[in-house]
Amino acid sequence: MSASATSPKRRPWLPWLIGLVGLGLIAWRMFYLHGVNETFNAAFFSGAVVRSLQLGSLYALIALGYTMVYGIIRLINFAHGEVFMVGAFAAYFLFTKTPYSWPVAVLVGAAVGYGVMQFLGFFRTEKRDPIVLAGALIAFAVVTFALASTQLGWFAAMVASMFITGVLGMTIDRVAYRPLRGAPRNSMLITAIAVSFFLQNFGILAFSNRQTPFRPQSFWTSMLQFNVFGEPLYTSWMIVLVPVVTAVLVVALTLFVTRTRLGKAMRATAQDAETAQMMGVNVDRVIATTFLLGSMLAAAAGVLWGMTFGSINQPAIFGILPGIKAFAAAVIGGIGSLPGAVVGGVLLGFLENFLTALFPRTAAFGGITEYKDTFAFLAMILILLIRPSGIVGEDLSEKV
């Protein structure tokens, strides 16, 4: 890789130029479309924008798991899409039973509270720390109340599913990936593919083998209508919920990575695992935490995905496309970098949804809706060929 070794010339104005020209072109295209047909009005485009943001947030949540795992052990966790699938199905089986009777709700709440206590105690040195106890109590109260009430069933299901799926992620790491530490990267990748296949077919075996409706009782999935310049836009409250939950989770993750001891250990391991181990970092624990956090985010994305689209596909194919697209988002943003995953996810959401809205089906043109699944792949291949480190990523090119 001698060509990439030469440092590129600094051109700070280039991104701004590309952005401005791009925005100009988009505005021009929008006005042109409005001139062609009255249905392409402000409501049409703002609907596309909010849907892009929604889809982009979901991609970002999944992409964070890919980028964290890649940053720490340089493994493309092929099974992450399937972890996302398991998260959605776990929540489905939880909320289809809501509202639970009070004793059941108290039991499940206690279990989740205990899990939260273990999880918080995982990176607090003092187990009886007030923060740990407070977190456990809050989790207990919230989950118990949510399970027993009707409206918040989806929320309890999401929290419980996050913990279940997080444990699944840690188990995958323990069973399949930890015995292979230090093995060639190709065999790790093949193992990840095998785990992914296992989970797909296990899902068919255990969950369902057909498309499943995913409609928890919730105010958020109800219809929302507002006017944009006098034109009505019909959508659901999910366009508010998804970006908000994503933002909360991303902020929590950032705080965890930057402000806690375990987060610091994670950053150290990502930088240089061997040295971190010599400095007393328990690398295996750090990797387990990474899988836990990534899988929790994927489970949240699974629940939100199901609520957004109203149904989840059968397990063998549900995880593949979102998973691989989120991986593409992580690569576009710069794999290994947390802000990169968010940027790449949102960008991919816009690429898929907004670009389709910019080239809609008209009398003269067939539209590009049928092609939108390939955008992620093409964008990823282009990014890898032009700038392999991604938009905000560091240079990861192989050295001798």
Partner: protein, 479 residues
Amino acid sequence: MKPPLDGAPPVPAPAAYVPHYTKRRTRNTLLTLGGLALTVLVLLLVDGGTSSKLKQVFALFAIWGIATVSLNLVNGVTGILSLGHHGFMLVGGYTTGLLILPAATRETLASSARSNLSDFSIGLSVENMLRGVGLDALTTPETLWARFLIALFIGGIMAALFGVIVGFPSLRLRGDYLAIVTFAFGEAIRLLASTPMMSSFTNGALGFAGVPSSFGKSVWWTFGLLAITIFVMARLKYSSYGRVLQGIREDEIASEAMGVNTSYHKVLAFAISAFFAGVAGGLWVSWVGTARLDLFLFFLTFYFLVAISVGGTGSITGVLLGTALVVWVRQYGDPLEQSYPLSTWVVAAGAVLVALAVIAYIIRRTRRLRPQLNPLVYVPALLGVGLALFGLYGSDLASLQTRWQGFGMRAITLSVVLIAIMILRPSGIMGRREFSWAWLFRERLDEPTEEEKRQDAWLSNPALAGKQEDADDDEEVKP
């Protein structure tokens, strides 16, 4: 040789170098001929036998064998993890299928309202091409075999073109990035094939039925093409090209420093591999009789990956062994996916647990781990025995009477086998070795010379035992 000085005995001339493959040549040739004759005999029996399922299984083994041996060129010999093989097979399969479609089927497709095929692609057939050239002799029904061969060849060439396109990112990317890009290409080919742009050739999600299946299901055709593939791949592996590809696998930077044009060789490997994948795709479409998009999902590449990893990455014979396993599980594994009462499943789960415990025990024994019976061994064993007893004696319970169907059990089995192989024996059954008679009879080919025996004796001298490490340590060069 120097003349002897002052009457000292003359230095004996070193024995001439005898290549190992010249030893026991007659026996090996006879054995090889016998093996080939045995294969032909088995094929004759299968072909003449009454079981059409057995015939299909043999044909499928040969078709997938072509695909795995070709994937092995990229994955095993060149060391590039390529995950887009199903895309190449799709290209070859659809091309072959469209080119060989019988005229009657074309007419029904042309008049059908649900068909997306354009008039151009309806007219696209080997038959019309040969008529255009004036070779009317090859357009009779008796010469369908010639047209099928031509269609297979064109399909292979089309796939090879795609292989060149996919090979180009390999010039800039390495390792898992490249693997993901090949995967993305493979998926993008399949997704593009269903779009309006390409459905004038592929007929979208419907595909087209009526591809003649007399070739894909014929043992002679498939095994003949498999033999050609193996011959080409084996010759390639031991040619100068093959050495270069193995050099790229071992250390790409070093081989570049030795003056090898790695870009050319990598793209070449992709193109050759894709050509044979296209041929395999054509046969696969012919085996099924239909060109459909769901024949070319990623599971195909996954099966090939299992075959390669289980058999031994880089070894052609190992890969064929793995293919046999995969095809066997796929074609004879349907008892796994049928509906049984829950008690049967409980007993089966117990048996699997006991088997796992036994395997764990054997591993602990061979690795001399102490204690030999640790919780990893006896907990699953006791749990398994308990489950089996529960399933056997509780089979009258109403809750264990409900029937339960094991969807996806075959794929689960294969993925568990793959994970286990990757953890316990990453090099697979054969490793990088190829089958040879000497290997089978465990003969030592490189009999040490007197000089080497003396050196061995010197090295195993216990007085020198402590200093051996220094002798091996050639990484640090001291001034």
